[in-house]
Subunit: 198 residues, 2 copies
DNA sequence: TACTATTGTGGAACATCGTTCTATTAAGGA
DNA sequence: TCCTTAATAGAACGATGTTCCACAATAGTA
Protein backbone atom coordinates (compact mmCIF):
# COMPACT_ATOMS: atom_id res chain seq x y z
CA UNK A 1 0.00 0.00 0.00
CA UNK A 2 1.38 3.37 -1.00
CA UNK A 3 0.72 6.55 0.87
CA UNK A 4 2.03 9.82 -0.54
CA UNK A 5 1.20 12.10 2.33
CA UNK A 6 1.69 15.64 1.09
CA UNK A 7 3.28 17.21 -1.88
CA UNK A 8 4.99 20.56 -2.15
CA UNK A 9 3.65 22.77 -4.88
CA UNK A 10 5.77 22.80 -8.00
CA UNK A 11 6.84 26.44 -7.77
CA UNK A 12 7.77 26.24 -4.13
CA UNK A 13 10.10 23.27 -4.43
CA UNK A 14 13.11 25.17 -5.75
CA UNK A 15 12.78 27.92 -3.18
CA UNK A 16 12.39 25.45 -0.36
CA UNK A 17 15.43 23.44 -1.43
CA UNK A 18 17.53 26.56 -1.90
CA UNK A 19 16.60 27.88 1.54
CA UNK A 20 17.19 24.52 3.21
CA UNK A 21 20.58 24.15 1.52
CA UNK A 22 21.75 27.57 2.70
CA UNK A 23 20.40 26.96 6.17
CA UNK A 24 22.26 23.67 6.50
CA UNK A 25 25.47 25.11 5.06
CA UNK A 26 25.31 28.03 7.46
CA UNK A 27 24.43 26.05 10.55
CA UNK A 28 26.08 22.66 10.07
CA UNK A 29 28.75 23.39 7.50
CA UNK A 30 29.65 21.22 4.52
CA UNK A 31 29.59 18.02 6.60
CA UNK A 32 25.86 18.16 7.19
CA UNK A 33 25.19 19.07 3.59
CA UNK A 34 23.82 15.79 2.23
CA UNK A 35 21.13 15.29 -0.37
CA UNK A 36 18.89 13.51 2.08
CA UNK A 37 19.36 16.14 4.80
CA UNK A 38 18.62 19.05 2.47
CA UNK A 39 15.55 17.31 1.13
CA UNK A 40 14.26 16.52 4.58
CA UNK A 41 14.74 20.08 5.83
CA UNK A 42 13.00 21.40 2.73
CA UNK A 43 10.12 19.02 3.32
CA UNK A 44 10.73 17.50 -0.09
CA UNK A 45 11.75 14.18 -1.60
CA UNK A 46 15.47 13.64 -2.29
CA UNK A 47 14.52 13.19 -5.93
CA UNK A 48 13.49 16.85 -6.07
CA UNK A 49 17.15 17.80 -6.03
CA UNK A 50 17.67 15.75 -9.17
CA UNK A 51 14.52 16.99 -10.86
CA UNK A 52 14.98 20.71 -10.19
CA UNK A 53 18.74 20.98 -9.95
CA UNK A 54 21.18 18.52 -11.44
CA UNK A 55 21.94 16.52 -8.34
CA UNK A 56 24.01 17.73 -5.45
CA UNK A 57 26.64 19.46 -7.58
CA UNK A 58 23.95 21.24 -9.55
CA UNK A 59 22.53 22.63 -6.34
CA UNK A 60 26.00 23.70 -5.27
CA UNK A 61 26.56 25.40 -8.61
CA UNK A 62 23.30 27.30 -8.20
CA UNK A 63 24.44 28.61 -4.83
CA UNK A 64 27.90 29.33 -6.24
CA UNK A 65 26.55 31.45 -9.08
CA UNK A 66 24.00 33.18 -6.89
CA UNK A 67 26.75 34.01 -4.41
CA UNK A 68 28.92 35.67 -7.03
CA UNK A 69 25.98 37.70 -8.28
CA UNK A 70 25.31 38.85 -4.72
CA UNK A 71 28.98 39.57 -4.09
CA UNK A 72 29.16 41.57 -7.28
CA UNK A 73 26.19 43.61 -6.10
CA UNK A 74 27.62 44.06 -2.62
CA UNK A 75 30.88 45.36 -4.07
CA UNK A 76 29.28 47.69 -6.56
CA UNK A 77 30.85 50.69 -4.90
CA UNK A 78 32.14 53.77 -6.66
CA UNK A 79 33.35 56.59 -4.49
CA UNK A 80 35.17 59.62 -5.85
CA UNK A 81 38.55 58.42 -4.66
CA UNK A 82 39.54 54.98 -6.01
CA UNK A 83 41.63 54.39 -2.90
CA UNK A 84 38.56 54.89 -0.75
CA UNK A 85 36.69 52.62 -3.12
CA UNK A 86 39.24 49.85 -2.73
CA UNK A 87 39.13 50.08 1.03
CA UNK A 88 35.34 50.12 1.06
CA UNK A 89 35.34 47.09 -1.22
CA UNK A 90 37.52 45.25 1.28
CA UNK A 91 35.00 45.94 4.00
CA UNK A 92 32.15 44.93 1.73
CA UNK A 93 33.91 41.67 0.94
CA UNK A 94 34.28 40.78 4.61
CA UNK A 95 30.74 41.81 5.40
CA UNK A 96 29.45 39.66 2.57
CA UNK A 97 31.32 36.65 3.91
CA UNK A 98 30.00 37.11 7.43
CA UNK A 99 26.43 37.69 6.31
CA UNK A 100 26.36 34.99 3.63
CA UNK A 101 28.22 32.19 5.33
CA UNK A 102 26.60 29.50 3.21
CA UNK A 103 27.39 31.20 -0.06
CA UNK A 104 30.93 32.05 0.95
CA UNK A 105 31.55 28.49 2.04
CA UNK A 106 30.67 27.22 -1.40
CA UNK A 107 32.43 30.01 -3.28
CA UNK A 108 35.77 30.07 -1.51
CA UNK A 109 36.10 28.02 1.64
CA UNK A 110 35.23 24.43 0.92
CA UNK A 111 35.95 22.28 -2.09
CA UNK A 112 33.06 19.86 -2.57
CA UNK A 113 34.03 16.50 -3.98
CA UNK A 114 33.71 16.49 -7.72
CA UNK A 115 32.27 19.98 -7.94
CA UNK A 116 33.54 22.22 -10.70
CA UNK A 117 31.82 25.56 -11.40
CA UNK A 118 29.89 25.64 -14.63
CA UNK A 119 31.00 27.96 -17.45
CA UNK A 120 28.45 30.58 -16.50
CA UNK A 121 29.46 30.46 -12.84
CA UNK A 122 33.14 30.72 -13.65
CA UNK A 123 32.42 33.76 -15.77
CA UNK A 124 30.55 35.43 -12.95
CA UNK A 125 33.56 34.83 -10.73
CA UNK A 126 35.91 36.26 -13.35
CA UNK A 127 33.75 39.34 -13.69
CA UNK A 128 33.92 40.02 -9.94
CA UNK A 129 37.68 39.75 -10.20
CA UNK A 130 37.65 42.15 -13.13
CA UNK A 131 36.04 44.80 -10.98
CA UNK A 132 38.92 44.53 -8.54
CA UNK A 133 41.44 44.95 -11.36
CA UNK A 134 39.60 48.08 -12.52
CA UNK A 135 39.64 49.73 -9.14
CA UNK A 136 43.34 49.08 -8.72
CA UNK A 137 44.01 50.42 -12.22
CA UNK A 138 42.35 53.66 -11.23
CA UNK A 139 44.46 53.83 -8.07
CA UNK A 140 47.58 53.50 -10.20
CA UNK A 141 46.33 56.01 -12.77
CA UNK A 142 45.66 58.70 -10.20
CA UNK A 143 49.15 58.22 -8.81
CA UNK A 144 47.91 57.07 -5.45
CA UNK A 145 49.71 53.76 -5.93
CA UNK A 146 53.16 53.11 -7.33
CA UNK A 147 53.10 52.02 -11.00
CA UNK A 148 52.16 48.41 -10.31
CA UNK A 149 50.73 45.86 -12.70
CA UNK A 150 47.01 46.02 -11.82
CA UNK A 151 46.35 42.38 -12.66
CA UNK A 152 49.17 41.14 -10.47
CA UNK A 153 48.31 43.58 -7.71
CA UNK A 154 44.70 42.47 -7.75
CA UNK A 155 45.93 38.93 -7.18
CA UNK A 156 47.76 39.79 -4.01
CA UNK A 157 45.06 42.14 -2.75
CA UNK A 158 42.57 39.33 -3.12
CA UNK A 159 44.99 36.92 -1.45
CA UNK A 160 45.41 39.18 1.55
CA UNK A 161 41.77 40.05 2.08
CA UNK A 162 40.49 36.57 1.36
CA UNK A 163 43.26 35.03 3.46
CA UNK A 164 42.17 37.04 6.43
CA UNK A 165 38.46 36.42 5.97
CA UNK A 166 39.03 32.70 5.51
CA UNK A 167 40.91 32.48 8.80
CA UNK A 168 38.19 34.42 10.58
CA UNK A 169 35.42 32.24 9.19
CA UNK A 170 37.30 29.07 10.08
CA UNK A 171 37.76 30.38 13.61
CA UNK A 172 41.51 30.27 13.26
CA UNK A 173 41.91 33.53 15.11
CA UNK A 174 44.50 34.06 17.80
CA UNK A 175 43.93 37.80 18.06
CA UNK A 176 41.04 39.08 20.13
CA UNK A 177 39.22 41.76 18.15
CA UNK A 178 38.47 40.45 14.66
CA UNK A 179 37.09 43.76 13.42
CA UNK A 180 40.09 45.75 14.58
CA UNK A 181 42.54 43.18 13.27
CA UNK A 182 40.92 43.33 9.87
CA UNK A 183 41.13 47.11 9.97
CA UNK A 184 44.84 46.89 10.72
CA UNK A 185 45.27 44.44 7.88
CA UNK A 186 43.65 46.89 5.48
CA UNK A 187 45.82 49.68 6.88
CA UNK A 188 48.93 47.63 6.28
CA UNK A 189 47.86 46.64 2.79
CA UNK A 190 46.89 50.14 1.68
CA UNK A 191 50.04 51.69 3.15
CA UNK A 192 52.17 49.04 1.51
CA UNK A 193 50.58 49.54 -1.87
CA UNK A 194 51.06 53.29 -1.68
CA UNK A 195 54.71 53.10 -0.78
CA UNK A 196 55.94 49.73 -1.95
CA UNK A 197 58.85 49.34 -4.38
CA UNK A 198 60.90 51.77 -2.34
CA UNK B 1 39.59 -21.36 0.76
CA UNK B 2 41.80 -18.65 2.15
CA UNK B 3 44.86 -17.35 0.44
CA UNK B 4 47.01 -14.83 2.27
CA UNK B 5 49.55 -14.13 -0.40
CA UNK B 6 52.28 -11.99 1.13
CA UNK B 7 52.67 -10.06 4.29
CA UNK B 8 54.52 -6.83 4.99
CA UNK B 9 56.98 -7.02 7.83
CA UNK B 10 55.73 -5.47 11.03
CA UNK B 11 58.20 -2.61 11.19
CA UNK B 12 57.71 -1.58 7.61
CA UNK B 13 53.95 -1.18 7.72
CA UNK B 14 53.87 2.29 9.27
CA UNK B 15 56.42 3.69 6.91
CA UNK B 16 54.71 2.19 3.89
CA UNK B 17 51.33 3.58 4.91
CA UNK B 18 52.76 7.01 5.68
CA UNK B 19 54.52 7.18 2.32
CA UNK B 20 51.47 5.96 0.43
CA UNK B 21 49.24 8.48 2.20
CA UNK B 22 51.50 11.41 1.30
CA UNK B 23 51.87 10.19 -2.25
CA UNK B 24 48.12 9.97 -2.74
CA UNK B 25 47.51 13.35 -1.10
CA UNK B 26 50.14 14.97 -3.29
CA UNK B 27 49.08 13.36 -6.55
CA UNK B 28 45.33 12.86 -6.25
CA UNK B 29 44.39 15.33 -3.54
CA UNK B 30 41.95 14.71 -0.70
CA UNK B 31 39.39 13.07 -2.99
CA UNK B 32 41.55 10.05 -3.70
CA UNK B 33 42.55 9.74 -0.08
CA UNK B 34 40.50 6.72 1.01
CA UNK B 35 41.46 4.03 3.46
CA UNK B 36 41.28 1.36 0.81
CA UNK B 37 43.33 3.35 -1.68
CA UNK B 38 46.07 4.14 0.82
CA UNK B 39 46.24 0.51 1.92
CA UNK B 40 46.42 -0.74 -1.62
CA UNK B 41 49.19 1.68 -2.60
CA UNK B 42 51.11 0.72 0.53
CA UNK B 43 50.73 -2.95 -0.32
CA UNK B 44 48.97 -3.50 2.95
CA UNK B 45 45.57 -4.55 4.26
CA UNK B 46 43.07 -1.78 5.05
CA UNK B 47 43.05 -3.03 8.62
CA UNK B 48 46.66 -1.95 9.00
CA UNK B 49 45.46 1.66 9.15
CA UNK B 50 43.35 0.74 12.15
CA UNK B 51 46.02 -1.34 13.81
CA UNK B 52 48.90 1.11 13.42
CA UNK B 53 47.11 4.44 13.34
CA UNK B 54 43.66 5.09 14.74
CA UNK B 55 41.70 4.83 11.53
CA UNK B 56 41.71 7.43 8.81
CA UNK B 57 41.65 10.41 11.14
CA UNK B 58 44.52 8.97 13.15
CA UNK B 59 46.58 8.78 10.00
CA UNK B 60 45.64 12.33 9.13
CA UNK B 61 46.64 13.50 12.60
CA UNK B 62 50.02 11.82 12.19
CA UNK B 63 50.61 13.73 8.97
CA UNK B 64 49.29 16.91 10.54
CA UNK B 65 51.69 16.74 13.48
CA UNK B 66 54.61 15.69 11.30
CA UNK B 67 53.89 18.61 9.00
CA UNK B 68 54.01 21.15 11.80
CA UNK B 69 57.24 19.71 13.09
CA UNK B 70 58.71 20.01 9.59
CA UNK B 71 57.35 23.52 9.14
CA UNK B 72 58.81 24.55 12.47
CA UNK B 73 62.17 23.23 11.35
CA UNK B 74 61.90 24.91 7.95
CA UNK B 75 61.16 28.24 9.60
CA UNK B 76 63.89 28.00 12.20
CA UNK B 77 65.63 31.03 10.80
CA UNK B 78 67.44 33.65 12.84
CA UNK B 79 69.23 36.34 10.90
CA UNK B 80 70.74 39.41 12.54
CA UNK B 81 67.94 41.69 11.37
CA UNK B 82 64.47 40.58 12.54
CA UNK B 83 62.95 42.23 9.48
CA UNK B 84 65.13 40.07 7.24
CA UNK B 85 64.16 37.10 9.38
CA UNK B 86 60.46 37.76 8.90
CA UNK B 87 60.86 38.06 5.15
CA UNK B 88 62.95 34.91 4.98
CA UNK B 89 60.31 33.11 7.05
CA UNK B 90 57.69 34.12 4.52
CA UNK B 91 59.74 32.58 1.75
CA UNK B 92 60.35 29.47 3.83
CA UNK B 93 56.62 29.13 4.46
CA UNK B 94 55.83 29.21 0.76
CA UNK B 95 58.65 26.84 -0.09
CA UNK B 96 57.43 24.40 2.54
CA UNK B 97 53.94 24.45 1.06
CA UNK B 98 55.20 23.84 -2.47
CA UNK B 99 57.57 21.07 -1.45
CA UNK B 100 55.24 19.37 1.03
CA UNK B 101 51.95 19.53 -0.79
CA UNK B 102 50.50 16.56 1.08
CA UNK B 103 51.36 17.92 4.49
CA UNK B 104 50.19 21.43 3.67
CA UNK B 105 46.90 20.08 2.36
CA UNK B 106 46.19 18.41 5.68
CA UNK B 107 47.50 21.29 7.79
CA UNK B 108 45.80 24.23 6.15
CA UNK B 109 44.03 23.61 2.89
CA UNK B 110 41.46 20.89 3.31
CA UNK B 111 39.17 20.11 6.21
CA UNK B 112 38.70 16.37 6.41
CA UNK B 113 35.29 15.26 7.62
CA UNK B 114 35.30 14.69 11.33
CA UNK B 115 39.01 15.39 11.75
CA UNK B 116 40.09 17.47 14.70
CA UNK B 117 43.79 17.80 15.57
CA UNK B 118 44.79 16.01 18.76
CA UNK B 119 46.00 18.01 21.75
CA UNK B 120 49.65 17.36 20.88
CA UNK B 121 49.12 18.39 17.28
CA UNK B 122 47.30 21.57 18.23
CA UNK B 123 50.16 22.45 20.54
CA UNK B 124 52.69 21.99 17.76
CA UNK B 125 50.63 24.35 15.62
CA UNK B 126 50.46 26.90 18.42
CA UNK B 127 54.20 26.74 18.88
CA UNK B 128 54.82 27.48 15.20
CA UNK B 129 52.54 30.49 15.57
CA UNK B 130 54.45 31.54 18.66
CA UNK B 131 57.64 31.78 16.64
CA UNK B 132 55.95 34.23 14.31
CA UNK B 133 54.83 36.37 17.22
CA UNK B 134 58.39 36.42 18.55
CA UNK B 135 59.89 37.59 15.29
CA UNK B 136 57.35 40.37 14.98
CA UNK B 137 57.98 41.40 18.57
CA UNK B 138 61.62 41.85 17.75
CA UNK B 139 60.73 43.93 14.69
CA UNK B 140 58.68 46.21 16.92
CA UNK B 141 61.39 46.35 19.61
CA UNK B 142 64.09 47.42 17.20
CA UNK B 143 61.85 50.20 15.93
CA UNK B 144 61.69 48.76 12.44
CA UNK B 145 57.93 48.44 12.75
CA UNK B 146 55.45 50.87 14.23
CA UNK B 147 54.43 49.98 17.80
CA UNK B 148 51.94 47.29 16.83
CA UNK B 149 50.48 44.55 18.98
CA UNK B 150 52.67 41.58 17.97
CA UNK B 151 49.96 39.00 18.55
CA UNK B 152 47.47 40.85 16.37
CA UNK B 153 50.08 41.64 13.76
CA UNK B 154 51.11 38.00 13.59
CA UNK B 155 47.49 37.17 12.82
CA UNK B 156 47.34 39.39 9.79
CA UNK B 157 50.83 38.49 8.59
CA UNK B 158 49.80 34.85 8.68
CA UNK B 159 46.54 35.69 6.93
CA UNK B 160 48.31 37.48 4.11
CA UNK B 161 51.03 34.92 3.49
CA UNK B 162 48.79 31.92 3.93
CA UNK B 163 46.09 33.56 1.85
CA UNK B 164 48.47 33.94 -1.03
CA UNK B 165 49.95 30.46 -0.75
CA UNK B 166 46.50 28.89 -0.52
CA UNK B 167 45.42 30.57 -3.76
CA UNK B 168 48.59 29.48 -5.49
CA UNK B 169 48.22 25.88 -4.38
CA UNK B 170 44.57 25.79 -5.41
CA UNK B 171 45.56 27.13 -8.82
CA UNK B 172 43.42 30.21 -8.33
CA UNK B 173 46.01 32.44 -9.95
CA UNK B 174 45.14 35.10 -12.48
CA UNK B 175 48.60 36.65 -12.50
CA UNK B 176 51.33 35.05 -14.59
CA UNK B 177 54.48 34.83 -12.49
CA UNK B 178 53.67 33.25 -9.14
CA UNK B 179 57.13 33.79 -7.73
CA UNK B 180 57.21 37.47 -8.61
CA UNK B 181 53.68 38.04 -7.40
CA UNK B 182 54.56 36.52 -4.06
CA UNK B 183 57.61 38.75 -3.89
CA UNK B 184 55.44 41.81 -4.51
CA UNK B 185 53.04 40.63 -1.84
CA UNK B 186 55.88 40.45 0.69
CA UNK B 187 57.10 43.88 -0.44
CA UNK B 188 53.65 45.33 0.12
CA UNK B 189 53.29 43.66 3.49
CA UNK B 190 56.69 44.66 4.80
CA UNK B 191 56.35 48.24 3.58
CA UNK B 192 52.90 48.48 5.11
CA UNK B 193 54.05 47.19 8.45
CA UNK B 194 56.96 49.63 8.53
CA UNK B 195 54.84 52.66 7.82
CA UNK B 196 51.30 51.79 8.82
CA UNK B 197 49.32 53.79 11.37
CA UNK B 198 50.35 57.01 9.66
C1' DT C 1 -17.38 19.15 -13.24
C1' DA C 2 -14.73 15.25 -15.19
C1' DC C 3 -10.60 13.78 -17.41
C1' DT C 4 -5.79 13.62 -18.41
C1' DA C 5 -0.95 14.84 -18.46
C1' DT C 6 2.46 16.50 -15.47
C1' DT C 7 5.38 15.82 -11.83
C1' DG C 8 6.49 15.16 -6.89
C1' DT C 9 6.45 11.16 -3.92
C1' DG C 10 8.18 6.88 -1.30
C1' DG C 11 10.99 3.03 -1.67
C1' DA C 12 14.19 -0.20 -3.47
C1' DA C 13 18.61 -0.70 -5.41
C1' DC C 14 23.70 0.10 -6.58
C1' DA C 15 28.53 1.27 -5.77
C1' DT C 16 31.55 3.49 -2.61
C1' DC C 17 32.83 5.25 1.73
C1' DG C 18 34.71 4.58 6.93
C1' DT C 19 34.57 1.15 10.19
C1' DT C 20 34.19 -3.26 12.90
C1' DC C 21 34.42 -8.14 13.40
C1' DT C 22 35.95 -12.79 12.33
C1' DA C 23 38.72 -16.56 11.11
C1' DT C 24 42.98 -17.71 9.01
C1' DT C 25 47.82 -17.93 8.75
C1' DA C 26 52.34 -15.93 7.96
C1' DA C 27 56.19 -14.07 10.63
C1' DG C 28 59.49 -13.92 14.39
C1' DG C 29 61.19 -14.96 18.88
C1' DA C 30 61.56 -18.72 22.53
C1' DT D 1 60.55 -26.62 16.79
C1' DC D 2 56.71 -24.50 18.79
C1' DC D 3 53.97 -20.72 20.12
C1' DT D 4 52.76 -16.05 20.49
C1' DT D 5 52.18 -11.98 17.75
C1' DA D 6 50.02 -9.60 14.27
C1' DA D 7 48.93 -8.99 9.23
C1' DT D 8 45.74 -10.94 6.12
C1' DA D 9 41.12 -11.62 3.37
C1' DG D 10 36.49 -11.12 3.59
C1' DA D 11 31.92 -10.28 5.22
C1' DA D 12 29.11 -6.96 7.26
C1' DC D 13 27.00 -2.33 8.87
C1' DG D 14 25.30 2.27 8.20
C1' DA D 15 25.72 6.41 5.42
C1' DT D 16 26.66 8.51 1.17
C1' DG D 17 25.38 10.12 -4.04
C1' DT D 18 22.71 8.43 -7.55
C1' DT D 19 19.27 5.97 -10.55
C1' DC D 20 15.03 3.60 -11.47
C1' DC D 21 10.37 2.51 -10.57
C1' DA D 22 5.33 2.49 -9.51
C1' DC D 23 1.99 5.47 -7.70
C1' DA D 24 -0.84 9.31 -6.80
C1' DA D 25 -1.55 14.32 -5.88
C1' DT D 26 -1.74 18.36 -8.43
C1' DA D 27 -2.91 21.44 -12.36
C1' DG D 28 -4.66 22.45 -16.72
C1' DT D 29 -8.12 21.41 -20.10
C1' DA D 30 -12.34 19.76 -22.21
Amino acid sequence: MRVVTTRTSSHLVEGAVRAAALQILTQDGPEGFTVRAVAQRAGVAPMAIYNHFHGKNGLIDRIFAEGFADLHRAMDIDLDDPVDTLRASGHAYRRFALEHRGHYLVMFLHHFEGFEPSMESAELAARAYGRLVDIISRCVDTGAFEPLDPRRTAQLVWAMVHGYVALEMNHQMFADDAEKTFEQMLDTMMAGLAHSLR
